[in-house]
Every structure is written in structure tokens, then in C-alpha cells.
């Protein structure tokens, strides 16, 4: 075979083209380099103000750069951090905190107790726009003595220290912030956390560099790139092509497919988020028989097994096993026959059903709409006819705040600190803008628990409330969600039950 000049030029151009574009990538992390395809954008670098402050999904990014007052271990237990000790005095009128010594900010300046006090005062100042200001304002008049801080309790809140591990509970640098201002801080944020911000392109990526002076030890990966890939299909492609070594929150079907591939592994553990159906005290839901039947008719095991491919854990109350007030003795049976009897007692049957509307999101959480469809089918068999109404999550917030939800409404509730106040409490206490069910009997049981100073008594009180709610069927708890994480086999990932994906917990395999 002879090749003429034109063909030779053509082949050469093709060869050059292949060389230029390079060969297919291999799914492994370069030494010291880690790339994560993250599911949400990071709108703002201030973790204490605006909507970002209450967005649970970006807390993992904040926790990479900033330290919280008190960190949480992957199992949700609390551990010493920048505060090494904390507590109340005997009559709960003062708080005391001990500040870790020898810590530096990312710019090399020393971290001091003044930073802690300034962060607490700023968080409690309503002018800053901190959405959790109502927690932080409960303590003021701070005094510093060496590395000890004391503060006066304005109003006792048993969850004050737990909030130090939760939304807006971050320590920011007083001197640096006052020097550069809010805008300067947004451009070049510094913290005391395990990673330092190297480069940030909003909507695109975040480059982190390991903090060699981190008080908790330098993280394993020197450089971490967080790509903001909000589309799930694109995240699947990122990990499958080897462009990223870690990703999260992909459909369970894709999770199963990907972890079966060479070079990829994953973990899909239960996190602190739960799926639930709010009942609203109106229409047919005012009838206890209808509520109890609505709860008994739902086969949660089947929902998890068939719709969520076995990922997730059915729950009977608004507490998961990791929460402080979880009570395994509270059971809610799945019993369609008994549900029929209860409905019959109220004059309803499959032929003459109780009619309700159920609202749900579609695609906000895995299989949310499909779960509600299945529940409607289960209800229909016992004598409840439900009409599905799909809404956006923003609409849910609006309706819930205005107490205008339908008689039944699907929702996803997160509770990373695992306290009963932030699960059962705010979800079920009538005066809370987050509750749907609002009746005096329940409010009377919950009310005294808010200020209960005896911790054991407080937790026992919440367990009793959960039991009462289950008996009255004031809400339909469905399941604890599992969070799928897929990663290259060259990376070890420790999953945090709060759902925060933390690069500092990742190490080369």
C-alpha cells in the first residue's frame, strides 16, 4: 500500500489531534490532589448571615474553612474543638467556656478568646441578619479571663451549646473581619479550619489548600478542588469519567451501578435527614381514626425496599437512632385491616372514602413523588382518597409558615445536632412557624420542655411527647434518608451522619 502526500498530511493531522486532546483519563487522584463534584453552589462565604447560613447542604464547605465553636464527630457526638470545655453553672444563669490555646488563623495571626466573644456577640446582633439570632441572643455580657470566658444567661436555652455545632455556629476572625469588612471577607475569607481558600469562582469551583498549622492535624490531601456540579447526571459523568474522585447525592440506581464498576467504591449510610408527612389539623385529619388509619396503612419497609432500593431506615417518630431522644420502644404498626376498621368506625370505607389532599415535592428528595404516589395507593385500599398536589419546596415553606398546608404534606426535615427540640420540638409545637399540627393538647405537653434545666428529665419529657404524638397520629414519620457517596478506590471517605461531606475526613487509600 502506498500513501500519497495528501493522505500522509491527513494522517499526521489526525495523530496530532489525538495527541493534543490526550488519552482518556483514569479515575484516580493525583498525589495530594483531590477533586470533588459537589451537589450545590456556595453562594456566600459568611456562614452566619443570609440564606446560606441555614442551608444544611453547604455546611460541609464552611466546616472545611471555619471551625465551629464545638465540632461534631461523624457519629454526631460532640467533641472538644476551639472550645475545649463548656457548660453551665448549677442554676443555669451563667455559661463558661475554655478556649484552645496555640491556634492560628489562616493568615498566621493568633486565635484568641476575643474572637470567640466577638463571634457570639455578632451572631446575637439582629443588625447582622443572622437567621439564628434568637439562639445567640440568649447569652450576653461576656467576660474574658485568660483563656476562660463567662457569659450571663438572658433566657435559658438547653440547646445553646448544641447550636454551637449547628447552623451559624462558626467562629470568625475579629481583627481580620474588622479590617477588611464584609466585602473583603467575601473575597478572601480566612478561618482556623483544616483547609484554606486558595481560589474561588462562584458557580464554578473552589480550590482549597491544606492548613499545615491546623490544630487538629494537617489534612491528608494537600489540594482539594470542589467543583460545583448541581446536575445529578453531570455528577455521575464526573465520577465515571474520572474527572472527579468523589461525588454525592446521585440517584440510588446510579449509585448501585457505579460502585459495581472497576476503580469505584461507595458508601450509602443513613444520615440525620428524615422524610415525613405533616398532617394539618383541618378537614378529615381532625378525625383521630382517619389519622391513625393513614399512618397504619403505610408500609414503610416496602417503600424503602422497593422505591429506595433498600437505602434508608423506616422510623416511627421524628427521632432517628442517632438522636438524643430516640426511643426504640415506640412502635407504629403497619396494619391495613385495623386501618379499615378505624375508618369504618368513622363512616369511611374504600367505597365511601375520606377525601384529603396531599402535597409533595417532585425530585427534591430521592423518590419523593413516587413515595407519595405509593402512599396514596396504600391509603386508597383502606378508604382514604388522596389527591396529589405537586409544589416547589419554596411554596412548602411559604404555606407552612402561613399554616396553609394541605391536610397532608411531604417534607424533608434535617436535624444534624440530633436534639429533640430541633426535630419533634419545632416540627410539632404550634407556635413554631415550622409546625403544621397546632393544637392546645400537644402545645401544653411541649411548652414546659423548652426551658427544662434537668437534662435527663428534658429528654424523658421529649420521649413522652413522641409517644403521645405517635398515639394520636399527629404526624406520619416515614424514613431516615441514606446519603449516597461514590468515590475512586484510591480515596477513603468517612461519611458524616450530619450529611456534611468533609474533605478533611478523606485520606488516600
Amino acid at each position: 500500500m502506498t500513501i500519497n502526500r495528501r493522505e500522509l498530511l491527513g494522517y499526521s493531522a489526525a495523530a496530532l489531534g489525538v495527541a493534543a486532546v490526550g488519552l482518556p483519563r483514569i479515575a484516580k487522584a493525583a498525589a495530594g490532589e483531590l477533586t470533588i463534584a459537589y451537589n450545590v453552589n456556595l453562594p456566600s462565604w459568611d456562614p452566619t448571615t443570609g440564606p446560606s447560613a441555614v442551608n444544611p447542604t453547604i455546611q460541609g464547605l464552611y466546616q472545611s474553612v471555619f471551625d465551629q465553636f464545638i465540632p461534631q464527630k461523624p457519629d454526631l457526638s460532640f467533641a472538644p474543638g476551639l472550645l475545649t470545655e463548656w457548660g453551665w453553672n448549677d442554676d443555669r444563669t451563667k455559661v463558661t467556656m475554655t478556649v484552645r490555646e496555640g491556634v492560628t488563623w489562616h493568615d498566621g495571626s493568633p486565635f484568641t478568646p476575643e474572637d470567640v466573644v466577638w463571634s457570639l456577640q455578632r451572631a446575637g446582633d439582629e443588625k447582622t441578619g443572622n437567621p439564628i439570632q434568637f439562639v445567640w441572643k440568649n447569652v450576653n455580657n461576656f467576660k474574658i479571663d485568660g483563656n476562660k470566658i463567662t457569659g450571663d444567661v438572658v433566657q435559658f436555652d438547653p440547646v445553646y451549646f448544641k447550636w454551637m455545632s449547628f447552623l451559624t455556629g462558626y467562629i470568625l476572625p475579629k481583627a481580620y473581619y474588622e479590617k477588611v469588612g464584609a466585602e473583603g471577607f467575601e473575597k478572601a475569607p480566612i478561618g482556623t479550619g483544616p483547609y484554606m481558600v486558595e481560589k474561588f469562582e462562584r458557580n464554578a469551583f473552589l480550590r482549597l489548600k491544606a492548613n499545615a498549622n491546623y490544630w487538629g492535624g494537617k489534612p491528608a490531601f494537600e489540594n482539594v478542588t470542589i467543583k460545583f456540579v448541581t446536575d445529578a447526571a453531570s455528577r455521575v459523568a464526573e465520577i465515571e469519567s474520572g474527572s472527579s474522585q468523589v461525588t454525592l447525592e446521585i440517584p440510588y440506581e446510579e449509585y448501585d451501578r457505579l460502585i459495581a464498576k472497576d476503580g469505584l467504591a461507595g458508601s450509602c449510610k443513613n444520615v440525620s435527614d428524615i422524610g415525613m408527612i405533616f398532617f394539618n389539623n383541618k378537614d378529615a385529619m381532625l378525625d383521630k381514626n382517619v389519622r391513625q388509619a393513614a399512618v397504619m396503612a403505610v408500609d414503610k419497609e416496602l417503600l424503602v425496599k422497593r422505591l429506595l432500593r433498600g437505602y434508608g431506615q423506616p422510623i416511627a417518630t421524628l427521632e432517628t437512632p442517632e438522636y438524643a431522644a430516640f426511643d426504640p420502644s415506640i412502635k407504629v404498626e403497619h396494619n391495613p385491616e385495623k386501618a379499615k376498621e378505624l375508618l369504618a368506625a368513622s363512616g369511611y370505607s374504600p367505597e365511601k372514602p375520606a377525601k384529603v389532599t396531599i402535597q409533595t415535592t417532585k425530585g427534591f428528595k430521592p423518590k419523593d413523588y413516587e413515595m407519595v404516589q405509593a402512599i396514596v395507593g396504600m391509603w386508597r385500599k383502606v378508604g382514604i382518597e388522596a389527591t396529589i398536589e405537586v409544589y416547589e419546596i419554596a411554596k412548602h415553606y411559604e404555606l407552612r409558615a402561613a399554616h396553609k398546608l394541605a391536610p397532608a404534606a411531604f417534607y424533608n426535615w434535617g436535624n444534624a445536632i440530633g436534639d429533640p427540640t430541633t426535630s419533634t420540638g419545632f416540627a410539632m409545637f404550634g407556635p413554631s412557624p415550622h409546625s403544621s399540627w397546632k393544637t392546645d393538647d400537644l402545645d401544653a405537653k411541649i411548652g414546659p420542655l423548652w426551658g427544662e434545666k434537668d437534662e435527663a428529665k428534658r429528654i424523658a419529657g421529649w420521649k413522652a411527647v413522641d409517644k403521645y404524638i405517635a398515639e394520636q397520629a399527629y404526624v406520619l414519620p416515614l424514613l431516615q434518608f441514606a446519603q449516597p457517596i461514590v468515590h475512586a478506590k484510591g480515596v477513603n471517605v468517612v461519611q458524616h451522619i450530619s450529611g456534611a461531606l468533609l474533605p478533611a475526613l478523606m485520606t488516600p487509600a
Binding site: V21, P43, G50, T225, T230, A237, S243, A394, T421, P433
Partner: protein
């Protein structure tokens, strides 16, 4: 006369923008979702809600809010983003160049591909080549841009991973750019290493946007060309001994291109609209991607700012198309 026409056109543009401003302002306030309700943390009281409402100016009536916003816009102050807590205009102008670059590259691709295909189809009219072109254009047109995006991700992002799936530029690169027009600036600076990196990120979204438009151009231009090719002056050119390709390029194309030009102008506005979904799919850091975040977060000032800038773009593109059309069509120029 010319000045009068220009002033009338300017006035029309301002009225259009004012109308868009009113519609957007009303619609996004009537639409489901309350930004304050979305940021309500557990335990928030009515007082907390009122405090946040006042902080974001949402405690005033819708008419008051509109005029406060409009007076700011006139002064060049589009307000502060609720979710990003930054100046809206700065945010928009920071992201607009990325979207414009993507749209322009997609447009160039669409015109090149569609134009070439149309010329080829007209030249080979009545043959299997034309039939093949018709089938390919039909397929390209019937598949929406985001679906093309998914196909391209699968083909060139996963199976043969030669392009980047997400982002606008590799995070590891040091970017020396002064403007936000990274692609064009890299060409001007002769930094072809960066140009190539930017292209690797931009090609798939640009192709996804370009394919349906290329199909439209191919069909319309081919049809126009076929009509023009039967006219007397073209036949005369053939008689003079020009080849078919020369006839098309020298004689027929200029006249046949006029309807296509109008269409390209109109479609370019659609193409910019299409960047919203495609940018999201490819995590491309443009205005469209930011618009989706703004809607999800119910960031009212940012939505208003983005929509108004998009509307301004649309009217400017239409103006440019009209002017170009007049320039190319002597009958309009002298009319």
C-alpha cells in the same frame, strides 16, 4: 429623519424594558415562594420574621418596593442579592461575558455548520445528499439542546473523555485575565494553552446549543437558495460558464441569506435563553446558571437584575439585526 427613527426606536426599547420590569417584578412576587420563609430557621418567631422582612425591604407594599427598585435601577443600583449579599449589577456583569462568549461561539458554529450544509444541500439538490441533510437536520432540530448536552456528555465526557464535563476553565490554572471574556482574551494574548483549556470546557455546551440552530439555518437557507437558483440572473450566470458552487457563492447566496439573517437574529435571542439550562447541565459559570440559583433561592433582586439584563440584550440584538438587514437590503435602506 434618521435621528427621528432612532429616537422612536430608543423610546420603543425603553417602553419594552419598562414593561419587562413591571411584569418580572409582579410575577416573581406573585409566584410561589417567599425568600424569608425559606431562610426561617427552627425556632424563629414572628418578631424574627418581621426583622428579616424589614432587613430585605419586603415589609413594604409591592408598589413601594417597585418604585424603590426602579429608582435604584435608574441610578444604576440594582440592589443587593439576598442569597449572595453582593451588588446585583456587579454579579450580573461578572457572569454576562461567560454567557455571551458561549452564545457567540455557539452562533458561529451554528452559522458555519448550517450554512455549509445548506450550500451543500442546494448544490446537490434532488440527490441522496440532500435527503441525508434533511434527515440529519430533522434529527438535530427535534432533539432539544439539553438532551444534546446529555448525549455529548456521555460520548465525549464519559466514553471518550476528551472534553471537560463541568466548569468554564480548569481550577488548577492561573488565570491572567483582566476581563471576564476569558476565551477572547486568551486569543488576544496568544495564550493558546488557555484557549485550548477554555475550548475543552466550552465545546460541548456550545455544540449542544448550536445543533438545533444549525438545523434551522440549514433548512431555511437551503430552501431560499433553491428558490433563488431558479431566477433569471442566476441562470444567466450559469450560461456565462460559472460552476454551480461559484453560482451559489457569488450570485445566489447574498439574496438568499436575507431571510436567514433575520431568523438568525431571532434565534440568537432564543439561543441566549437556552444557555440557562445548558449552563446548568455543564456547571458553566455563566449568567444562566446564576439565574437558576437565583430562582431556587427566591433571590428577588438578583432575578430582577438578570431578567432585565437579558431583556436589554434581546432588544439590542433585535436592533442590531434590523440595522444589518437594512444594510444588506438596499430596498429597505432607501425606503
Amino acid at each position: 429623519m434618521l435621528l427621528q427613527r432612532f429616537l422612536i426606536r430608543l423610546l420603543t426599547m425603553l417602553i419594552t424594558l419598562f414593561g419587562v420590569a413591571i411584569v418580572v417584578f409582579v410575577v416573581i412576587r406573585v409566584a410561589p415562594g417567599d425568600p424569608i420563609a425559606m431562610m426561617l430557621p427552627p425556632g424563629a418567631t414572628d418578631a424574627d420574621i418581621a426583622r428579616l422582612r424589614a432587613l430585605y425591604g419586603l415589609d413594604k407594599t409591592i408598589v413601594q418596593q417597585f418604585f424603590i427598585w426602579l429608582s435604584g435601577v435608574v441610578r444604576g443600583d440594582f440592589g443587593t442579592s439576598i442569597s449572595l449579599r453582593q451588588d446585583v449589577l456587579g454579579l450580573v456583569f461578572n457572569r454576562l461575558p461567560a454567557t455571551l462568549e458561549l452564545a457567540i461561539v455557539a452562533l458561529v458554529m451554528a452559522v458555519a455548520l448550517g450554512g455549509t450544509t445548506a450550500i451543500l444541500g442546494a448544490r446537490e439538490r434532488g440527490t441522496a445528499v440532500e435527503a441525508g441533510i434533511d434527515i440529519a437536520s430533522g434529527a438535530a432540530l427535534s432533539i432539544p439542546d439539553f438532551l444534546w448536552g446529555l448525549v455529548l456528555i456521555l460520548l465525549f465526557g464519559v466514553l471518550v473523555p476528551i472534553f471537560d464535563i463541568s466548569g468554564r476553565v480548569s481550577p488548577q490554572l492561573d488565570l491572567p485575565f483582566v476581563t471576564q471574556f476569558y476565551f477572547f482574551e486568551s486569543l488576544l494574548r496568544l495564550r493558546f494553552d488557555l484557549t485550548w483549556d477554555l475550548l475543552k470546557h466550552m465545546l460541548m455546551p456550545a455544540v449542544a446549543l448550536a445543533l438545533p440552530l444549525a438545523a434551522i439555518i440549514a433548512q431555511l437557507l437551503k430552501q431560499s437558495l433553491k428558490e433563488v437558483l431558479d431566477l433569471d440572473y442566476v441562470v444567466l450566470a450559469r450560461v456565462k460558464g460559472f460552476s454551480e458552487t461559484q453560482v451559489i457563492l457569488r450570485e445566489a447566496l447574498k439574496n438568499a441569506a436575507l431571510p436567514t439573517l433575520t431568523l438568525v437574529g431571532v434565534q440568537f435571542t432564543f439561543l441566549i435563553g437556552g444557555t440557562v439550562i445548558v449552563e446548568r447541565l455543564f456547571s458553566y459559570e455563566g449568567l444562566g446558571n446564576m439565574a437558576i440559583d437565583a430562582v431556587i433561592n427566591r433571590d428577588l433582586p438578583l432575578i430582577q437584575g438578570i431578567v432585565l439584563v437579558f431583556a436589554l440584550l434581546f432588544v439590542l440584538i433585535n436592533l442590531a439585526v434590523d440595522m444589518m438587514y437594512a444594510l444588506l437590503n438596499p430596498r429597505l435602506r432607501h425606503g
